[in-house]
């Protein structure tokens, strides 16, 4: 608890991974504060006395040489850099200007107009959404004096939440009650959201600040009581005749909105009421237009917000200004929250492991990315309490995945094996070895899902770190594959054309290799999305992508061979039940689908690589000045995540440079090849776009999957057009014998192209 100084710094150092693509240099103001501070020590305690040593201290300090320090040997000056300087107005949030008072002289008993209540409520909504966007409560919701009044001192019952502390229940004005009920609902909502985010994986400095500055978000007050108060207030408002109708409606909207919001965040954690939660989100969204259209009635009350409240909050950071978020931005954020919330809950409907992964990755790729609260909800739905999607074991999902890729209808996945107790029985041995494999692989497998739930930069960064683990997993699995052979009595394939050695399936390691390749492709694709690579590097990086996708395609070919062999064996037997027949069909469908997808990927990547090589040759892409970098060093940097990977082998620098620049090929033949590859890829994407949800393993997210494939298709068509435009220009140049090519190139900014993973250059003719 007391070590936040030191741990704060070590965690900062751990984050300084200078070799990574994204360097995390964000100030770690709140990270140093992850644990709650200890309660304030009592100043009066029987065992402790304090002695005035002012004189001795001052005299002793005077004896020190200028610049000489007396310090704790374990305390470093590096740490002291993080210390807050007391009495410095920029650092010390508790510093008072001469004549300034600690408290704002705000009169809480002062009556408020209905318009003012609307104004305050709408401002609070902006603050709440600013918090959802990643700003700390201290600079948003907690700047409201009314909120502060409720939270300090911490209330334990509704009776302790009156703004005017002299007021009793009967004489609270209607307007104060409306505001109080709304504030209570708001705080409770924040409490649920904070709880959810805190219990999942997120990055405090990048995503969200869960720090509550030592204030309780109404944990002591029951959710039902606040809902009741909101409802009572709605009724009291309805029968009142002191408020003009227009304002009355507006206030009614706001109270109803708050009650719904609170009910949703309370219910959203449930993993058993998919339809109900979905309906709640969509109904909630319908309330927003009413809110939006009445915002104009509000009259802001800026005096009811104060930056001074920060000096009362426990805080190791200097004072910071109130965050200003516009109404429009707040409503946008809220609308997205509803839309994404309604979709996220659908993850609970499980079809198969591949569909689950497709769902999560497409959901996370939504633009803009779903907010942190929704992302943590998604994590909770998937992994909460180590129970997958609320009702499945991790083993079920993992076995499902194995059976639909490399082990259809395999005796290795037969649950009956677990029942065998005789240690020499091969089934016992199989169960035992599979359990070793599962315990080894489950974490890595779930980490893929967990990783995709993070923010975009983190996804790539984490994949770069975990990919090495998959290489080791593959090796470990290979060991188990060889041991298992003895018990499964696997008969190897003998094919003299390929090798004199018998060929075994190596099912488990095949599976690991497949996922390793997938993630390596993602690392590159996310690199394009996050604009990690400079335009002049794109030829190389797309070459590498096609290399990986081609490797995956060949690997899938091998898996298919073994699946097909097994399938034929049971077809001939006819004794096997329908279930194993289905499993084989499903696995073969998946392997086919993934092969098609890999083919389309390497086709387009190949085409783009050739196109960029031509553009580099024609000097149409100007490399940025790089006084401290060389091609070799950049190669090492880009390949860093893959350096430790045994398979597929890293392409050495000179080989890669040669393969990309293809010096022996003429520019026109490169363009011809690029055009052919683009056409092949286009055909591939077209076929993919016609697949059913079941065939494409995107059940539950077919619509977004189709959109994604269509975006790839568009990028593909656009590539074809660009290739043709360059070809025409090069032909023109050769015909005229001129040295100048009459085109220029524009690289679309991120988000402006058809698909973030496909950076297609735009060719513009120069007259």
């Amino acid at each position: 608890m007391h070590s936040n100084g030191v741990t704060g710094i070590t965690s900062k150092i751990a984050d300084f991974d200078l070799n990574d693509d994204q360097i995390n240099l964000a100030p770690s103001g709140f990270a140093a504060y992850n644990s709650e501070p200890p309660p304030a020590p009592k100043l009066k305690s029987a065992g402790i006395v304090s002695l005035d040593i002012t004189e001795q201290f001052v005299n002793a300090a005077k004896q020190l040489e200028l610049g000489e320090l007396v310090k704790d040997p374990h305390f470093t000056l590096f740490e002291s850099v993080g210390a807050l300087e007391i009495m410095d107005p920029k650092m010390d949030s508790g510093y008072l200007q001469p004549g300034e008072t600690m408290e704002d002289d705000y009169d809480f008993s002062h009556p408020l107009l209905p318009e003012e209540i609307i104004g305050i409520i709408d401002q609070l909504l902006c603050h709440e959404m600013a918090w959802h966007m990643g700003h700390p409560l201290a600079q948003t919701v907690f700047t409201s004096l009314y909120i502060d009044r409720i939270l300090d001192p911490c209330p334990t019952s509704l009776e302790q939440t009156y703004f005017d502390k002299s007021e009793s229940c009967e004489d609270e004005s209607l307007m104060h009650q409306v505001l109080r009920a709304y504030c209570l609902g708001l705080l409770k909502t924040c409490g649920y959201v904070n709880q959810r985010v805190k219990s999942e994986h997120y990055y405090e400095e990048e995503d969200f600040v869960t720090h509550t500055f030592h204030r309780s978000l109404l944990e002591n007050i029951d959710h039902e009581l606040i809902i009741e108060l909101l409802e009572e207030t709605i009724e009291r408002l309805a029968v009142s005749n002191e408020v003009p109708q227009e304002a009355k409606d507006a206030l009614d909207f706001r109270l109803g909105f708050r009650a719904s919001f609170l009910e949703i965040v309370e219910a959203a954690d449930s993993r058993t009421s998919l339809e109900q939660v979905k309906t709640m989100w969509t109904d909630f969204q319908l309330l927003l237009p009413g809110l939006k259209s009445t915002t104009k009635l509000g009259k802001p009350v800026p005096t009811s917000f104060s930056v001074k409240i920060q000096r009362k909050l426990a805080s190791t950071v200097p004072p910071r200004p109130i965050v200003q978020v516009s109404q429009e931005a707040a409503f946008d954020q809220l609308e997205r929250l509803c839309r994404d919330g309604a979709v996220a809950v659908e993850v609970l409907k499980y079809y198969d492991s591949h569909s689950l992964m497709t769902f999560v990755s497409l959901f996370q790729a939504r633009k803009p990315q779903p907010s942190v609260y929704i992302r943590t909800l998604l994590q909770h739905y998937i992994f909460g309490d180590m129970i997958m999607l609320g009702n499945m074991s991790i083993r079920q999902v993992l076995d499902d995945d194995l059976s639909t890729t490399v082990l259809p209808a395999s005796k290795l996945l037969d649950r009956a094996n677990d029942e065998v107790e005789f240690p020499n029985d091969p089934r016992f041995k199989m169960a035992e070895r599979m359990e070793i494999f599962r315990s080894r692989a489950a974490g890595s497998f779930l980490d893929i899902l967990r990783t995709i739930c993070q923010n975009r930069c983190r996804i790539r960064r984490t994949l770069c770190h975990t990919i090495a683990d998959w290489d080791i997993l593959q090796l470990d699995a290979e060991e188990l594959d060889m041991q298992l052979r003895e018990f499964t009595k696997e008969t190897p394939v003998r094919d003299r054309e390929i090798s004199d050695e018998p060929i075994y399936a190596f099912a488990l390691s095949s599976w690991a290799y497949f996922y390793k390749l997938r993630q390596m492709e993602w690392i590159l694709q996310m690199g394009f999305e996050l604009e990690v690579y400079q335009p002049d590097e794109l030829a190389t990086m797309y070459y590498y992508l096609q290399y990986l996708a081609k490797t995956r395609s060949r690997h899938l070919e091998r898996i298919r061979g073994f699946n097909f062999r097994g399938f034929n064996a049971i077809r001939n037997k006819k004794t096997a039940g329908d279930a194993s027949h289905d499993e084989y069909t499903k696995a073969l469908t998946f392997v086919n689908f993934s092969t098609m997808e890999a083919a389309a990927t390497y086709g387009l990547a190949d085409s783009l690589s050739c196109l960029f090589t031509v553009l580099n040759r024609l000097s149409l892409i100007k490399p940025p000045p790089r006084p401290y970098s060389t091609d070799q060093m950049r190669y090492e940097l880009r390949m860093k995540p893959f350096l430790l990977i045994g398979l597929p082998e890293l392409i050495p620098f000179t080989d890669l440079t040669n393969a990309v620049s293809q010096p022996s090929e003429s520019t026109l033949s490169l363009l011809k090849y690029a055009a052919e590859a683009a056409i092949a890829a286009k055909r591939g994407f077209e076929v993919l776009s016609k697949l059913s949800a079941k065939e494409a393993f995107c059940q539950g997210s077919h619509e977004s999957w189709i959109k994604n494939v269509k975006d790839c298709l568009k990028a593909c068509i656009f590539t074809g057009i660009s290739v043709a435009a360059v070809k025409k220009a090069v032909e023109g140049m050769e015909k005229n014998g001129s040295k100048e090519v009459k085109i220029r190139v524009e690289i679309p900014a991120m988000g402006k192209g058809y698909h973030d993973w496909w950076v297609v250059p735009k060719i513009i003719p120069i007259p």
Binding site: G67, M87, A314, S315
Partner: protein, 114 residues
């Protein structure tokens, strides 16, 4: 005090809890980590206590004075020497036999000792 003695004295205070009162009537309670010739003081795990203005009849009153101090956690702070008006060190009462208690901040003092 001699220079060496002074250094020893200050060193003996390291890691003890100090209560530092500043010119704006706040008090900081934290672990003493470092000081220099300008008596700038670094405290770790510091709490800030805001002392309300002292009641006027403090001298005469025989009644124990009890004031509500508002406190909050700040962590690592450096208090510049120029703003320090009082420094107190916390000691265990059991180890204090025979030593006299100085200071005049009755508001902060533990009642049984006063």
């Amino acid at each position: 005090m001699e220079q060496a003695q002074s250094k020893d004295y200050l060193t003996s205070l390291l890691n003890k809890n100090l209560r530092i009162t500043t010119s704006d009537a706040r008090m900081f309670l934290g672990q003493f980590k470092c000081t220099d010739s300008d008596r700038n003081i670094i405290l770790a795990h510091t709490f800030e206590y805001r002392i309300p203005p002292p009641p006027k009849d403090l001298g005469e009153s025989k009644e124990p004075v009890s004031l509500d101090l508002t406190s909050r956690y700040l962590g690592l702070v450096v208090v510049p020497g120029e703003y320090i008006i009082q420094i107190e060190v916390e000691e265990f009462a059991s180890q204090m036999k025979g030593k006299s208690v100085g200071g005049n901040q009755a508001a902060l003092r533990e009642e049984s000792v006063v």
